[in-house]
C-alpha cells in the first residue's frame, strides 16, 4: 500500500510539471481562472445591471460608456457578457457534475454486480448513446420544459454514458486484480475496497474527461438557448443574446458579435486546459 501511495503522489507531481511546461494549457488555465473570477465578482465589477434597461441608448455601438455597445433594450452588452459567464460556467459545471454522479452510480452498479444488471445497463447506455448529444438535450428540454435546472439535467443525461463506461471499466479491471481475495482476507467489505481504490486510479481520467465535457457543456447551453430551449429570459446567456441579436444583424451587428466571442474564448480555454491535462496526466490517453 505505501508503494501505491508514493506512486500516486509522484504521478501527480510529474503531471503538474508536465502541465506547467505546456504553455497553451497554462494560458487556458489562466483564462479559465480569469473567467471564473469575473463570473464570481460580476455583480461588483459590472458597470451596469444585466437587466438594466436604458431606453435612450438603444442599439448603440461600441463607445467608452458601453465598451461592447447596447442592445435593443438599451442594456449594456459588456455587463451582460460578464453575467453570461456566470450562467454558462455554473450550468456547465453542474451539468457535468450531474453526469459524473449519474455515470458513476450506473458504472459502479454495472461493474460491481455484473451479470444481467450489467447487460441491462449497458444496453441502456447503448440506447442513450444512439442519439447525437444535441438531439438528446433537445428532447429532454421538450419534455421537461425550459429553464436552468432542466438544462443541467439535459447536460447530465448526455454526459453520463461516458463516465459510466469509465467507472465500469475501472471496476471490472480492479475486480480482475484479485481484490476480492485480498478483501476477504483483510476482512474489509469488497465494495469498500473497490471504492477506496477506484478513486485514485480514475481521478486522473475523470478530470480529463470532465474538463473536455465542460467545453461541450458550455457549447450546448449556448446552442439550446439559441434555439429558444435553454435559459429563461431575461437572463443574459450568451446563446440567447446571439439569438436575439439575429434580427439586428444589419443595423447593429455588435449585439451578435461579442457574446459569440465570449463563447469561443470560454470553450477555447477549457479545451486547452483539458488537452493539457490529458497530455500531462497520461500520455497514453492521447490515443483514446
Amino acid at each position: 500500500m505505501p508503494e501505491r501511495g508514493r506512486a500516486a503522489s509522484s504521478l501527480w507531481r510529474d503531471a503538474w510539471r508536465r502541465l506547467r511546461r505546456n504553455r497553451a494549457a497554462m494560458a487556458g488555465a489562466l483564462v479559465l481562472v480569469l473567467l471564473t473570477g469575473i463570473a464570481l465578482v460580476a455583480p461588483v465589477i459590472a458597470p451596469y445591471g444585466p437587466a438594466e434597461q436604458d431606453y435612450n441608448h438603444i442599439l448603440e455601438g461600441v463607445s467608452l460608456d458601453h465598451p461592447f455597445g447596447t442592445d435593443n433594450f438599451g442594456r449594456d452588452i459588456f455587463t451582460r457578457v460578464i453575467f453570461g459567464a456566470r450562467i454558462s460556467l455554473s450550468v456547465g459545471l453542474l451539468g457535468v457534475a450531474l453526469g459524473l454522479a449519474i455515470g458513476g452510480a450506473v458504472g459502479l452498479t454495472a461493474g460491481y454486480w455484473g451479470r444481467w444488471i450489467d447487460d441491462v445497463l449497458m444496453r441502456l447506455l447503448d440506447v442513450v448513446l444512439a442519439f447525437p448529444q444535441l438531439l438528446l438535450a433537445v428532447m429532454v428540454i421538450t419534455v421537461l420544459g425550459v429553464g436552468d435546472l432542466n438544462v443541467i439535467v439535459a447536460i447530465g443525461i448526455f454526459s453520463f454514458p461516458g463516465f459510466a463506461r469509465l467507472v465500469r471499466g475501472q471496476i471490472l479491471s480492479l475486480k480482475r486484480l484479485d481484490f476480492a481475495l485480498a478483501a476477504r482476507a483483510s476482512g474489509a467489505g469488497e465494495l469498500r475496497i473497490l471504492l477506496s481504490h477506484l478513486l485514485p486510479n480514475t481521478l486522473a481520467t475523470i478530470l480529463v474527461i470532465a474538463s473536455l465535457r465542460l467545453g461541450t457543456a458550455i457549447l450546448t447551453v449556448a446552442t439550446l438557448s439559441f434555439l429558444g430551449l435553454g435559459i429563461r429570459p431575461p437572463a443574459s446567456e450568451w446563446g440567447t443574446m446571439l439569438s436575439d441579436g439575429r434580427q439586428f444583424l444589419q443595423i447593429a451587428p455588435h449585439v451578435a458579435i461579442f457574446p459569440g466571442l465570449a463563447i469561443v474564448v470560454a470553450v477555447l480555454a477549457v479545451n486547452l486546459l483539458g488537452d493539457g491535462l490529458r497530455d500531462a496526466l497520461d500520455p497514453r490517453l492521447r490515443s483514446s
Binding site: 434597461q53 433594450f73 429570459p233 431575461p234 439575429r246 434580427q247 443595423i251
Partner: protein, 598 residues
C-alpha cells in the same frame, strides 16, 4: 351619414368571426322594414348599419314608430349573457338583408402581364386547404385561390363574391343564397348549389378533423341545395350573424370534385374559383400560383401570369429578400427591418394601420389581480412608450382605449401615464407595499414586450418570472376554464376582424367568452359592462350605440382589467415597380390584386 363615421372602411357591415355560438332575438321581414324605413325618408345606409349591429325587428319597428312620434324608443331589455338558446338571449349582429353589395364594386384590375410576382411572407403557409388553417399567411394565399359566397375586400368591407343575393328567413334560421351563374372551379367543376352543399358538409362533419370545424358548426346545422342556383344554409339557432361568419376567408368554396379526389391531400392540391389557380408547392421552398384564365369575373382577374409565395421566417432574411430583388412584396416586416429598408434603393416601405392591440392580460379572478388598486398600479408602472420603443422601435400608437383607433365605436378614454411612484403607492394601499411575485407567459414573437414589461414591473417591486412557451402549449394553458386555470399574466393581442366595437369588446370582456368558450383569458366580468355591450348590439340609433360602447370603454379603462400597451403598425415593402399587394388591417396579406407598374 359620412360625418357619423370618420373612417370610410367602417361604413360596411359588422362581421362575426365567432368563437362560440351566438343567439339572437327572433327577427322577421327585414325587407319589409327596409322599405318602411326608406319610405320614411330615413337613411338606408343607417338602416343597414343598425341591422348589422344586431338591431332586432321589434327594435327597428319601434324606431320607425319612434321616428313618427319623435321620441326614441327604449331598447328591449338587455338579454342574459349566455350562449344557451334561450328566447331572451344575447342579441347578435344581423348582417345585411336582401342582398345587394353594400359597398361599391371593386375597381377593375390592371391588365395582365406575363410575369411572375414574387411574394415573401414571414412564415410558410401550413396548408392551402381553406377549411383547415388559422395561419394569416395561408389565408392570404387562400384569398387568391378561393372565393366564398360573400367575402372581404382589402379594406375589410363585405362584398358579394359567388352569391348574387341572399335573404334570411323570418326566423333567421334559414338563409337562402342566390348563386351567380356560369362559374367554374379551376378544375372545370361547375359551381352550383350542390357544390356549395358538398363544401359545407365537408367542414361540418365531425370526423373531418378540419381545424375550422368548430368555427362553422357552432353556427350552421346543415346546408341544402335547392337547385343549381340556390342554396339554403340552416343554422342551429336563430343566427343572424351567419353571413358575416362565412365572409371570413375560411368561407372560401373548395371544389367538391377535388377534395373528394384528394382527401387528406387536398391541402397540397387546392382547387377553388379564385383568380389564381394552384400550380405547385415545393415544400419548404415556395408555392406557385398561375393566373386562372377562365376566371368568371373578367374585369377583376389576375394581373400577373404567375405568383410565387415564399415563407421566410428569419426577419433579416425577409428584408434581404426584397432588397436583393428576390421578391416584389415582403410582409409583414418587423420594425427593425422596416427601418433598415427605408434607406434601401428600389424599395418602398409601406406602413399601414392595424386594428391589432397588445396588452398584458391579468387574471382578474385571481389574487392579487382581483383588486382594482393592484391592476391600476400595474398600469401606472409600465412605461408604454418605452415598451413601444423596444418592441417596435417606436412605431405604433399607445392605446387609450381597449380597442385601436381604427375600429368603429372607438373613443379616446385615457391612458395611465407612467408613474412608478403612484404605482408603488397604490400597491401599498392594496396591502402589498413590498410587491409580490407572479408569472408572465408569452410566446416567442412577444418576447421583447415581455422582457420590457418584466423589467418595469421589477421597479415597483413586482417580481415577474417570464415564461416563454411555444404556441400550442401557450394556447392550451390560456384556454383552460377558470377552475383549472393557472394564468396570472399573459402578453395578449387581439385584432377584431370585424372592425367593429362589438367584436373588439365582447370577445374579450364578456363573460360569455370566458375560456374555454372564448378569448376572455383574463376572466373579466363587470355586469354593467356586460349590459352595455349587449345594449350596443341592440340599440338601433347609431349615436346611442356609440354612447353605450363609449361608456363601456370608460368602465373598462377604470376597471383596468389589463395593462393596455399599444396598437402596432404593419409594415410591408414593395419593389418600386410593383403594387397592389398590402397588409390588411387584420394582419392577412391581400395579394390577389398584385401587379407591376412597369
Amino acid at each position: 351619414m359620412a360625418a357619423l363615421l370618420p373612417n370610410a372602411q367602417h361604413t360596411g357591415v359588422v362581421l362575426a368571426v365567432c368563437r362560440g355560438g351566438l343567439t339572437m332575438d327572433r327577427v322577421s321581414e327585414y325587407g319589409r322594414l327596409d322599405e318602411e324605413w326608406q319610405r320614411r325618408g330615413l337613411d338606408r345606409r343607417k338602416f343597414l348599419r343598425l341591422v348589422a349591429m344586431g338591431a332586432s325587428v321589434p327594435t327597428l319597428s319601434a324606431m320607425i314608430a319612434a321616428c313618427r312620434q319623435g321620441a326614441p324608443a327604449s331598447p328591449p331589455a338587455a338579454a342574459g349573457a349566455t350562449q344557451a338558446p334561450a328566447a331572451a338571449a344575447a342579441p347578435t349582429f344581423v348582417a345585411k338583408t336582401v342582398g345587394t353589395p353594400v359597398v361599391a364594386v371593386a375597381p377593375t384590375s390592371a391588365p395582365r402581364v406575363d410575369r411572375s410576382f414574387l411574394v415573401a411572407l414571414n412564415v410558410e403557409p401550413d396548408s392551402l386547404d381553406v377549411q383547415d388553417t388559422f395561419f394569416n399567411a395561408s389565408l392570404g394565399v387562400d384569398k387568391c385561390l378561393y372565393e366564398g359566397l360573400v367575402g372581404l375586400d382589402q379594406s375589410m368591407q363585405i362584398v358579394n363574391q359567388l352569391a348574387d343575393s341572399w335573404e334570411p328567413s323570418a326566423d333567421a334560421k334559414i338563409f337562402t343564397f342566390k348563386l351567380k351563374q356560369g362559374i367554374k372551379f379551376h378544375d372545370g367543376t361547375p359551381f352550383n348549389g350542390q357544390a356549395v352543399q358538398a363544401a359545407f358538409e365537408r367542414v361540418l362533419a365531425p370526423d373531418a378533423q378540419l381545424k375550422r370545424h368548430g368555427y362553422f358548426s357552432a353556427a350552421i346545422d346543415h346546408v341544402e341545395a335547392v337547385d343549381d342556383a340556390t342554396v339554403r344554409l340552416v343554422t342551429r339557432q336563430p343566427f343572424a350573424a351567419l353571413v358575416a361568419t362565412i365572409a371570413h376567408p375560411a368561407g372560401g368554396m373548395p371544389s367538391p370534385t377535388a377534395f373528394k379526389q384528394y382527401g387528406q391531400d387536398f391541402g397540397t392540391h387546392p382547387v377553388g374559383t379564385g383568380p389564381f389557380k394552384f400550380a405547385e408547392w415545393v415544400r419548404g421552398d415556395h408555392i406557385t400560383l398561375d393566373a386562372f384564365s377562365d376566371y368568371w369575373d373578367k374585369a377583376r382577374g389576375a394581373s400577373v401570369a404567375h405568383m410565387s409565395i415564399k415563407g421566410i421566417s428569419d426577419p433579416s432574411s425577409l428584408a434581404i429578400a426584397i432588397q436583393s430583388g428576390g421578391a416584389q412584396f415582403a410582409g409583414p416586416l418587423n420594425a427593425a427591418q422596416a427601418q433598415q429598408l427605408q434607406s434601401a434603393v428600389g424599395v418602398k416601405v409601406v406602413e399601414s394601420d392595424s386594428i391589432s392591440v397588445y396588452w398584458v392580460t391579468m387574471n382578474d379572478q385571481r389574487k392579487p389581480f382581483d383588486n382594482n388598486l393592484v391592476r391600476q398600479a400595474l398600469n401606472y408602472a409600465i412605461n408604454k412608450d418605452a415598451v413601444l420603443k423596444v418592441a417596435e422601435l417606436g412605431k405604433g400608437k399607445i392605446v387609450d382605449s381597449p380597442m385601436a383607433a381604427g375600429v368603429w365605436g372607438y373613443k379616446s378614454i385615457k391612458t395611465y401615464e407612467y408613474n412608478p411612484q403612484k404605482a408603488k403607492d397604490l400597491l401599498a394601499q392594496a396591502g402589498l407595499p413590498d410587491g409580490f411575485k407572479t408569472t408572465l407567459r408569452f410566446t416567442a414573437p412577444s418576447k421583447d414586450r415581455a422582457v420590457a414589461v418584466q423589467s418595469q414591473l421589477q421597479q415597483i417591486g413586482v417580481q415577474v418570472e417570464a415564461v416563454q412557451m411555444e404556441v400550442p402549449a401557450y394556447q392550451a394553458e390560456e384556454s383552460k376554464p377558470l377552475e383549472d386555470s393557472t394564468t396570472e399574466l399573459l402578453i395578449s393581442n387581439w385584432s377584431p376582424s370585424t372592425g367593429d366595437a362589438d367584436w373588439a369588446l365582447r370577445s374579450i370582456y364578456s363573460k360569455t367568452q370566458w375560456p374555454p368558450a372564448g378569448a376572455n383569458y383574463g376572466f373579466y366580468f363587470n355586469q354593467q359592462v356586460e349590459d352595455l355591450i349587449m345594449q350596443g348590439l341592440q340599440f338601433t340609433d347609431e349615436a346611442k350605440r356609440r354612447d353605450a360602447y363609449a361608456r363601456a370603454q370608460e368602465l373598462i379603462m377604470d376597471d383596468a382589467p389589463n395593462v393596455f400597451l399599444y396598437a402596432p403598425r404593419y409594415f410591408s415593402a414593395l419593389r418600386d415597380n410593383a403594387a397592389g399587394a398590402i397588409m390588411q388591417a387584420d394582419g392577412i396579406p391581400y395579394l390577389r390584386t398584385a401587379y407591376y407598374t412597369s
